[in-house]
């Protein structure tokens, strides 16, 4: 417990030192370090708005099969990801001296297209549905209630938010002005993973059975963020620093055995925290360029993220000994004179679960890096992307009984058409053709079960087309 106590105290200190702030900076175009200011209400002619993020297309390998990307790290290159769509529906119900209020609903559709698989069905997630009141009493204060994501900047090329990304149902509030953001978020979740909820049929008072929840424990989350920005106006260099912290707590409970209402195993309470810091610069080296550096440490329950199910628990069935460390970098250059854009991003991640095993295949170091130079020839924006993934487990691969360093190197050519007023790395929509080849070393192939064809393929080719877009995402902020 002492091992846990010090970082926990530090996390608490960070939280308390930066009380109360909520700043939703992110859109899908989250590579930008400039927080998206809400559009002036006065300019909103229609109180409704619509926004979307999407990537839709298909891939095939040389044999005509669909092909799947070779990913051996937690967050790999996004280039060959599944189809995905988000739809934002916003409305401004009130604007006045006391506040400006907006409501936002975001619906997400996960990879399932009727015209592809013939199934008139969809995997839908209601991700955001909340109301936020800001400029309360004419100040920078704001408050919100509902379901939403709360997140900062990402590494676009890896589809990865290295420090702060929460998907929560809860409430929050804080302060935001031109140079300072403060945020506090309170949330609960109850994942259908058997550790937080258990339903069983019980005899009803009359005939038959009715369902009862014998296990019902909600995870409690508190997140605190404080950000200070310097400069950055009128195309000048801007700098920022963001401190971030989370606390996760899961109360104790009892999990009943499947066919028993009387016999149970105790589930102890669990705890975790996150502490992180981000340094950012924008308009560097010129307009459109930016650089972000993150350092994040998590321990205990928080290692598994808010929607994750803890695994590798300690002998007390708790996650408190789990640890994760992340060091990440992402940036963008827009060399307008040369009509060249350059995106890059990467991270190092060290993960250790909570179990007693020092030599453990689950525990590992991961490294991923991707770079994408792009030529901006009018709307024709050909690009290439190179990426590498490295994974070094602390234990033996159970298939080979060897400690191996797995590596996947991927090269891609992406001729594309991009449409926008200022063409650059983050301009969308984009119609693109993609050819990619992944090279796997033997250790990476060994990650797959021996009966999986991928375990015998050291080269994987992908040919595909897709469209990616985002628009209207900042409309609510």
């Amino acid at each position: 417990m002492r091992r846990f106590a010090w970082p926990l105290a530090a996390g608490l200190a960070l939280s308390l030192a930066a009380p109360a702030a909520a700043q939703e900076t992110s859109t899908r175009n989250a590579g930008s370090v400039v927080p998206s200011d809400p559009p002036p209400i006065e300019t909103v002619k229609d109180r409704h708005w619509f926004g979307s993020y999407g990537r839709i297309g298909f891939f095939a390998d040389p044999d005509g099969a669909r092909g799947t990307q070779r990913q051996i790290v937690a967050f790999g290159p996004r280039l060959i990801e599944d189809n995905y769509l988000e739809l934002d529906f916003g409305y401004i119900p009130y604007r006045g001296k006391e506040a400006q209020v907006r409501a936002l609903i975001t619906v997400s559709f996960f990879d399932q297209l009727f015209h592809y698989d013939g199934k008139a069905d969809a995997k839908i997630g209601l991700r955001q549905a909340y109301v936020e009141a800001e400029k309360l009493w004419g100040t920078g204060a704001f408050a919100w209630v509902g379901s939403r994501w709360v997140r900062g900047n990402d590494i676009y090329l890896l589809n990865f938010w290295p420090m702060d990304e929460l998907n929560v149902v809860g409430f929050g509030g804080g302060w935001r002005d031109g140079s300072t953001d403060l945020m506090l978020t309170f949330a609960l979740n109850r994942l259908e993973n058997g550790l937080q909820v258990q339903r069983v049929p019980v005899p009803s008072n009359g005939y038959g059975a009715q369902e009862a929840e014998l296990l019902d424990r909600q995870k409690r989350l508190i997140a605190a963020m404080a950000e200070k920005r310097y400069g950055g106006h009128d195309g000048q260099l801007g700098l920022k620093v963001r401190l971030y912290s989370e606390l996760h707590h899961l109360p104790s409970g009892k999990r009943y055995y499947g066919d028993s209402y009387t016999e149970f195993e105790p589930l102890p309470d669990d705890l975790g925290f996150v502490a992180g810091v981000q340094f950012g610069a924008w308009n560097m080296p010129g307009p459109g360029g930016h650089l972000n550096l993150w350092l994040r440490y998590a321990q205990g329950l928080a290692v598994y993220d808010e929607l994750g199910t803890p695994f590798g628990l300690n002998k007390d069935r708790r996650a408190v000994d789990a640890q994760e460390f992340r060091l990440a970098l992402a940036g963008n250059l827009e060399l307008k004179d040369a009509a060249v854009s350059l995106q890059y991003g990467g991270y190092a991640r060290i993960f250790k679960d909570a179990d007693v095993n020092e030599e453990d295949f689950d525990d590992r170091q991961e490294y991923a890096f991707a770079v994408r130079p792009q030529l901006n020839l009018g709307i024709f924006t050909p690009a290439v992307e190179a990426s590498v993934q490295l994974s070094r487990p602390n234990g033996l691969n159970p298939r080979t009984n060897q400690q191996q360093v797995a590596q996947v190197t991927q090269l891609a050519v992406i001729p594309a058409l991009t449409f926008g007023d200022l063409i650059g790395s983050y301009t969308r929509p984009q119609l693109r053709f993609i050819y990619a080849v992944s090279l796997l070393n033997q250790a990476a192939m060994d990650y797959y079960p021996i009966d999986d064809p991928r375990s015998a393929q050291d080269l994987a080719h992908y040919i595909g087309v897709n469209a990616e877009w985002w628009f209207g995402r900042g409309g609510g902020y």
């Binding site: 970082p7 502490a275 060091l327 453990d360 159970p398």
Partner: protein, 661 residues
Amino acid sequence: MRALLMPVSVALALATLTVPSCVEVDVTMDHQTLVVDWRDEIIYQIMVDRFEDGDPSNNYNVDVRREASYHGGDWQGIIDRLDYIESLGVTTLWISPVVKNVEEDAGFASYHGYWTQDFLAVNPHFGDLSKLQELVREAHARNIKVILDVVTNHIGQLFYYDINRNGQPDIVFFGGGGPGHGSQNPDQASDLRRASEWDPEYDRRGVQGFTALGENGPAPIEWVEMPEINRTPPNPPEFRDPRWYNRKGRVTVWETPNSASIACFAQEQCDWSDACLQDGQCDFYCDQGANICKPSFDYVREQEIKGDFPGGLKDLDTSRPDVTNKLIEVFQYWVKVADFDGFRIDTLKHQEHEFFEAFAPALRRYAKSLGKKNFFMFGEAFDGNDELLGSYTQREGVDSVFYFSYKYRVFGNVFGSGAPCDKQPWEDVASCAPKQAQIMFEERNADLNGGPRYSATPKTDGPTDAQGNPLVPQQLLVTFLDNHDVPRFLYQYPDLGRLRSALAHQLTMDGIPCIYYGTEQNFAGGPDPSNREDMWSTGFAQDGETFKFVQRLTRLRQSIAPLRRGDMHFVWASEHVNDESDAGILAYERRYDGQVALVVLNTHGEKASATHFDNTAMVTSFPAGTTVTDAFDGQSTFTVGANGTLDVEVPPLGVRILVAQ
């Protein structure tokens, strides 16, 4: 910018203090000979799944309420409890099989480890290879040796016999059953036949296919693909060759008459013994006294060796050199990667002697080539037939066997059901009399094909003593009161006094004692699976009377060399079982290197007995006038009389271990 310094320093401090470290895994093992003399060892049998759950992260499909499910024990749990094991005084661990298994079959899980699917992969329920290596290293660091349980006879139920050739496993029925089978329909004249394609009964010709038109030749076997329970074709892939299996179906005949009555007399064959009549072999004979037909010894042995083990465990044809060689290869792998000190070999009597005469020498040579001498192999022939047990110790076969016959005849009948008891009219010596121990000891040398029943011939590269002198199977029999296949001693004989008395004999007689985990905690489970209790339910208490009793005996065995290495000399083995003065007395000297330890046990449960009868007293090898001390109670002393006579009284179910002062 000064405002930036604080978060920078906090972040760097966090990173410096808390970043998890990287781990280099070293999978190489330093092989060494730890065993000085196997007679010094006390084996502790552990069923891994039931001993201690040290790592909940590998608890997959665990249900502690169901006796036939995984319960969560693992190798980390054993590591965590090495202090307890060491405190008990045992010196060698026998751990249940480590290889990857079929997960479950007919609602029973493979927590025991005997349903091999992959001979070269570890069972992930117990940890990974490095954890297994850690267990062996940690044990070796305490001079605790580790013996691996291996199965060479069969694999898990990974294929079925497609008797009706429809490509799916069925319970198949043919015929309707005629008037003689309960039907009132005179036109329904065919016999009703039933067969499970998973586990059909033994057929010497091989399991036959069958359709409505009758038999149609050997049934093909079909490998199953059920990855969700790891019921998939075996690994390494060589084991997927159907010719590597006997494919004759499940053993159905188990009775093994005494060797004296196994002769097959044609005139006594039962009329319905068609197999005898057809091929001239004598599969059955009539026990006219009982008026029943019994299988002949040879027929039993044929089924045992070539039939599938119950539960549909598919029998490898270990008469094939390629099968033998591959089994040698896969089990050499485990010696290499985990530095085991020996093998306990499962289902010994279900394989040909010739297999072990190839397997055992190859393993001995291999272990020696790695630097590990004294690699010890002992087998489980689950049978009370002393001759059968001993037969597997002959020539270059296994180094030892479980002394099943002694477990039944002495630990069971004498210590479990001992005096007061009755001598039956047909018995020369009462089965419950201590004399049985001496008889069995002498029968180790009874003639078996011109040699002693248990081999007295050293094996090439076989076990040796500290001076390098060879040790022979007769000296190395593995004694036990119970194990995972039989009910606990206390289940059969619910008397703690008798348990401790039996333990006292086991830990002071010759051979290598093997204690089943939980015996020291008074476990009393019935037949499998009830005899596989969760050890953690005891809290690993060390203050129980039985624990302390075993602890005291193991310490005495370690400190008094004759108790470990001495020859056995019976000085009093009573034939009396009721109220006679010596009823229940068993006394023997262990003599080693000029030292003597005299063990006197009273197996009588109700009265103190002494080492005299009428006017005859026990004669020992101690010189007259010697004062001997009871090392067990640490205080009683006795003086040896003229000619070495010694009259010692022992309380009911008591023990004295007498050594010269």
